[in-house]
Point group: C2
DNA sequence: AATTGTGAATTGATTCACAGCT
DNA sequence: AGCTGTGAATCAATTCACAATT
């Protein structure tokens, strides 16, 4: 939430599957949170859950959880709560495109090479299929392979990659972004400190770790 | 942003220095953004800047930038714009506690060890002075040292550390948090997927990289 | 003429309050 | 009785429109 961090499109019209009309971006974000929790409940053979319990686990108010869910339909039973298994199914279907997407990473520097092996992505069903770097000495085999930048465009279209993680220095960020957009990338997780200019069919989420820390430190006494 | 990601206190009363009344948390967040940009302008010997130019660089609307700045006072000159040097001074003073804080990191796993050496923190004036891990085989010397968990409380009070980065697995996150709070930590940058329960004199920013990616992928077609 | 500062208007998100099911 | 679903009310953040200033 940070916040912050999530920035770009205010809300989205929801054409692809069944839903009311426009879903606030923050709601979509929280849906991922809820999904994780009900998955765990499901694993633990818990069959029903109330909005109060679920909300507590997610760190939100029960009314907010209920409002969030009803953007997509009525999943609960009054007087009883939500059936965990059907929540899992419904949320999975709403977020279905979300997982098991191939991802590329550009900029195999300090942060980049850490993220390449970050198991949190793999755990959630995202696979970094390749990384790219301008410095040829980094561009050697391994898994995932680190490839030279001139392979970028070709790789994206060959593997129909739609998601990219950008961990290049701020000075190169826009140039690389242009190449990504040109090659057909639709969403970018941007760790560089630059504000990226993209056409509005491309979504960007910014994560600036130094600002997160600075922002926190503002609140200490 | 992020979304997001920034979550905990809605706004803060601003006692410590001169300001209007309550400053929205998002405003404080953007202030860091502005500060970075004016620092760069200053280095490049640029003397004045308009709200339009500054806003563009920060990726916000000019009116928003002006409103953000006037929470702290009137820094600009009508008809002319803002004097870069005085903006630098004023913003630095507002964010003054923000930099040059010692920081500890708990959980020297995959992501943790990457962040220990992430130069983006150092560049912004944050120094990770020590890391802690339960697994003793990770707890060896080096710079910064990786210490065993039983040294945590002592280290925090000895070095008056107020900021912690939490990169432990979700299952341990709350237990470690309790220890941190107990020892006097005031702000936590939480990379674990858990929602942390903390007293309200402690601030938490959540960063969940997997959710950022999942959220992005929701918007691709 | 240019550009800030700001009250008012608008837009967006959250919470309340309670009707409606089971 | 318990708990969801939701319109209305509230609260918060953004943007507009324009007066004020240089």
């Amino acid at each position: 939430m940070g916040g912050p961090p999530v920035d770009a499109v205010a809300g989205i019209r929801y054409f692809s599957h069944v839903a009311k009309f426009v879903i606030p971006r923050k709601t979509v974000y929280r849906l991922s949170l809820y999904f994780r929790i009900v998955e765990r409940l499901h694993q633990n053979r818990i069959e029903t859950v109330s909005s109060a319990a679920l909300a507590k686990a997610a760190g939100v108010k029960p009314t907010q959880l209920r409002k969030d869910l009803t953007y997509f339909g009525q999943f609960g039973t009054r007087g009883l709560g939500y059936k965990v298994s059907s929540l899992v199914t419904q949320l999975a279907s709403v977020l279905r495109t979300a997982r098991f997407q191939p991802v590329i990473l550009i900029g195999a520097g300090n942060l980049g090479s850490a993220l390449i092996h970050y198991d949190g992505f793999a755990k959630e069903g995202f696979e970094i299929v390749a990384a790219f770097d301008i410095r040829p000495e980094r561009a050697k085999g391994g898994n995932p392979p680190i490839l030279p930048m001139d392979r970028l465009g070709g790789f994206i279209s060959e593997h129909s990659v739609k998601l990219a993680i950008l961990t290049v220095p701020g000075t190169n960020a826009q140039a690389v972004t242009n190449a990504l957009v040109e090659a057909g990338i639709q969403a970018i997780l941007n760790f560089s400190p630059s504000i990226l200019q993209v056409p509005n069919n491309v979504v960007v989420n910014n994560v600036n770790l130094a600002i997160e820390l600075e922002n926190l430190s503002y609140f200490i006494t």
